[in-house]
């Protein structure tokens, strides 16, 4: 970071410059990459044969929450940390609130836990549905090889019917209204307090939850049907899912209940090995023994790995500590789903893909739909729970605070908030392990593998661009982008530079999906 002490850009020694002229590296920059929550870019270097030498997935941004949270009253952390991500604010708010329970050693009343999980289920369902229809969906509902002009939300609608688009908008709104009703507002809710929630659910509110939950279950079933009827019969797409271009054999982490079934809100973290057997199962407090972070100078992103196995670079296999989180990883880490429709879908997923664990990155999309079914079913269970309307939604904390850890499964994977405070509850230290960090190494590998398999100086057409993008989109697209009103393929530009930065080729894809090479 220290600008003055950095090696100067362009300080290639003459000798290395000469060497480089013999071995010309070309460089492709995808900046900014798309359908990603936040900023990102991919740098691809080609060798003199025009083949990919290396590819880097870079995150150019830092805001520094760990530092400026220090000195804040810890009860404010659920609202401060939700600003880490406005797409999944409810995940940060919830992990933070659970860290406060632990910090004050206060158990929320049963109704408060149910209200929290109700809000959380509505949030997960909304988030997953948006992704399926508007972000990842076009790639496989329409098809990765479809003309770019059709590979977008309009193409999805053309395939599944105009009314579905309207339904998705309405469903998203209804689910977000539940979060707003119980938590103030959908972006940056305010319900979380140590020992419970700020507001009770009235019988009137419960009725609305029941109505929306019933719609959500039907909607989830319908979404699953679309996947199974449109995507799965397409052998070409299934071949792509299982191809080596999108496959890495890593460890997987996800939160499970006592019967090892997936749980978004609470439980233990279970990690399975690349062969699918359990590596470890541990409670939130033991995350420190199991997760560590690695820094690379070329990204502001930190790369997580399994501490006892160690950082062995960007490689997969049982000897590398690289692991993955999010839908694919969660379904690998659990033994099944806690609701009937989701369990059914999970079994079909496992048998179709040849058993567990599933190492195919693109299977994240299918896993996400199965999780959508679970979230909707769970929402309905909670909405129908008579205890939901109890007036007892808070237990006041009495213990002296010192240290607390909270874990939830965010839509994109395991999320850990860990706070240390003084005796008055002012924050001294915050440690935050967010989902994307834990996928960062595997994403970097996925992008490089896809780039190596697909890109060369002679192969930079639209299909190539899209398939490289698909390598990261499966993990971490922006859930809030590219919705209904803004059809069109993602315009992209690839600039190919030589080692000194001189542009040697530009490939453009415009909004109509036309690809031109200048």
């Amino acid at each position: 970071m220290q600008k003055d002490t950095e090696p100067q850009s362009g300080t290639w020694q003459e000798g290395s410059a000469r060497a480089n002229s013999e071995y010309i590296r070309h460089r492709i920059t995808l900046d900014p990459i798309t359908r990603l929550e936040g900023h990102g870019r991919i740098e691809v270097f080609l060798d003199d044969a025009g083949q990919v030498d290396h590819a880097y997935f870079q995150v150019p941004e830092l805001r520094g929450f760990e530092k400026f949270s220090q000195g804040r009253p810890v009860e404010e952390m659920p609202q401060i940390t939700s600003r880490i991500c406005g797409v999944c604010p409810t995940a940060h708010h919830m992990a933070s609130t659970k860290a406060l329970d632990d910090l004050y050693k206060v158990e929320p009343p049963p109704a408060a836990k149910k209200i929290r999980e109700l809000i959380y289920s509505a949030f997960v369902a909304e988030d997953h549905a948006l992704h399926f229809y508007f972000l990842g969906g076009p790639d496989f509902i329409v098809g990765p090889e479809a003309p770019a002009a059709e590979r977008n939300v309009l193409g999805v609608i053309a395939k599944v019917g105009v009314d579905v688009g309207k339904e998705v908008i309405a469903m998203r709104r209804h689910l977000r209204e539940i979060v707003a009703m119980a938590g103030g507002k959908p972006v940056h809710p305010v319900f979380g307090l140590p020992g419970g929630v700020a507001k009770r659910i009235t019988p009137e509110m419960q009725q609305q939850c029941q109505k929306v939950a019933a719609e959500a279950v039907e909607f989830a079933k319908f979404t699953l049907q679309i996947f199974e009827e449109i995507v799965l019969p397409n052998t070409e797409y299934v071949r792509l899912i299982v191809s080596d271009l999108y496959t890495h054999r890593t460890y997987y982490m996800g939160q499970v209940d006592e019967q090892n079934r997936l749980n978004f809100y609470d439980g233990k973290l279970r990690v399975v090995k690349p062969d699918g057997t359990e590596w470890k199962k541990f409670g939130p407090a033991e995350y420190l023994q199991n997760i560590a972070e690695h820094v690379e100078p070329w990204s502001y992103m930190k790369f997580c790995y399994l501490k006892p196995i160690g950082w062995k670079g960007f490689s997969d296999g049982a000897d590398s500590g690289v692991y993955s989180v999010a839908p694919l990883a969660r379904l690998n880490a659990c033994d099944g789903m806690a609701t009937p429709l989701a369990q059914n879908a999970y079994e079909r997923y496992v048998s179709t893909l040849g058993g567990k664990p599933v190492h195919h990155t693109l299977a994240n999309h299918w896993a996400r739909v199965i999780e959508l079914v679970y979230a909707a079913e769970r929402l309905q269970e909670l909405a129908n729970d008579p205890e939901l309307t109890s007036e007892h939604v808070r237990n006041l904390p009495t213990a002296t605070p010192r240290e607390g850890i909270g874990v939830v499964e965010a839509p994109r994977g395991t999320l850990v908030h860990h706070y240390q405070t003084d005796e008055q509850g002012f924050l001294q230290h915050a440690n935050l392990i967010v989902a994307t960090q834990q996928n960062a190494a595997r994403i970097a590998m996925s992008v490089e593998t896809a780039a190596k398999g697909l890109i060369s100086l002679d192969h930079m057409d639209d299909g190539v661009l899209n398939k490289v993008e698909m390598a990261f989109r499966a993990y971490d697209p922006c859930h809030g982008c590219a919705t209904h009103a803004l059809p069109g393929s993602m315009p992209l530009v690839l600039r190919v530079h030589d080692a000194k930065g001189k542009t040697v080729a530009i490939v453009r894809r415009d909004r109509n999906g036309d690809v031109k090479r200048d």
Partner: protein, 327 residues
């Protein structure tokens, strides 16, 4: 047929919540999008910086920019969009006032970097590797934007024409702001495109606010069971309602938690935090300096409370910057 006005949505140091706020227009988004020609919106469609660079200066009607300015890339983008757009709108708390990430201005850049890459409990970084503006990996040169010393509100970097407040702005405010700008007459430059009333005025608990509030101590929200009907200030909780611009329909209070001030000040107030502090000081029950001090000492984290969203744009920060300059 007149062409549709070109519009840009861009994000700087932000969380994505402002982009979600645009999506939360829901069905009305179709109407808005139909009236404009969106030429750049990285999160949703046109990602090419080069395309923006290729537009003639002033070709864009309005650039809605959310997020604060934290690094060199964001500064460059703000300047580029300023050149291209007739109207620049600071969208959301971070762009308007600096936002929650603006609290980082309480700390130095090396301390922030250290907290992120050296101090975390899970960090394994024996060689003290830090993200670098220039680095070399496998003999290949890689670059990152410069993480700057301070967080700045958008108008501390480029000239801003209008402001849309909120963290994030509520759909109703977004809709009104956009349709106002698309209307036949632009509002006066510098306008905040939201109702110019204190939040208390629209609060559903307004009628329970006592004629004369008085405090002997302030409570923290986790310490008390919060009554769902009664004015939060009357319950001893620090609600920023009196010093905060409304228009959001007081939704946080409907969630039974205090307003934290994301709407920023009304136009009658220069500094939101100073306004709140003076309002509270005048309501302390005791009138002796020690009594006042004892009561005010029960306010936890005054800077983080009164300047939660507005530290970079505050008088406090201006004073500090002047001091630095003088020194």
């Amino acid at each position: 047929m007149p062409t549709k006005p070109k519009v840009v949505f861009y994000w700087c140091a932000s969380c994505g919540g402002c982009d979600e706020a645009i999506l939360d227009l829901d069905e009305r988004l179709l109407e808005v999008a139909g009236a404009i020609d969106i030429v750049f919106w990285p999160v949703a469609m046109d990602f090419k910086r080069k395309d923006v660079e290729a537009l003639p200066d002033g070709a864009v009607f309005a650039a809605f920019i959310n997020g604060a300015v934290r690094n060199s890339e964001q500064e460059e983008m703000a300047q580029l969009l300023r050149r291209k757009a007739k109207v620049v709108v600071a969208f959301g708390s971070c762009a308007q006032l600096g936002g929650i990430p603006g609290l980082a201005n309480l700390f130095s850049r090396p301390d922030i970097i250290s907290a992120a890459y050296l101090e975390p409990l899970t960090m394994d970084n024996p060689d003290r590797v830090l993200p670098s503006v220039h680095s070399r990996c496998n003999g290949q040169e890689l670059e990152l934007p410069v993480f700057q010393d301070r967080v700045r509100a958008l108008d501390q970097v480029v000239e801003v024409d209008y402001y849309v407040p909120g963290c994030p702005p509520m759909p109703r405010i977004v809709y009104n702001a956009v349709t106002t700008l698309l209307g036949s007459e632009l509002p006066p430059k510098g306008s905040v495109l939201a109702p110019n009333v204190a939040l208390c005025e629209e609060c559903s608990r307004k009628d329970t606010k006592p004629e004369k509030l008085s405090f002997t101590e302030f409570k923290r929200p986790h310490q008390v069971l919060i009554d769902e009907k009664l004015c939060l200030l009357a319950q001893g909780l620090l609600c920023m309602g009196p010093a905060t611009r409304g228009g959001c329909d007081a939704v946080c209070i409907k969630g039974n938690m205090p307003c934290t001030g994301c709407g920023g000040p009304t136009s009658h107030v220069r500094d939101q935090g100073a306004k709140m502090l003076s309002a509270l000081a005048s309501l302390v029950e005791g009138k002796e300096p020690e009594e006042i001090e004892r009561t005010l000492a029960t306010i936890p984290d005054p800077v983080g409370l009164f300047y939660r969203y507005g530290l970079p744009a505050s008088l406090l920060q201006a004073a500090r910057q002047n001091q630095t300059r003088a020194a």
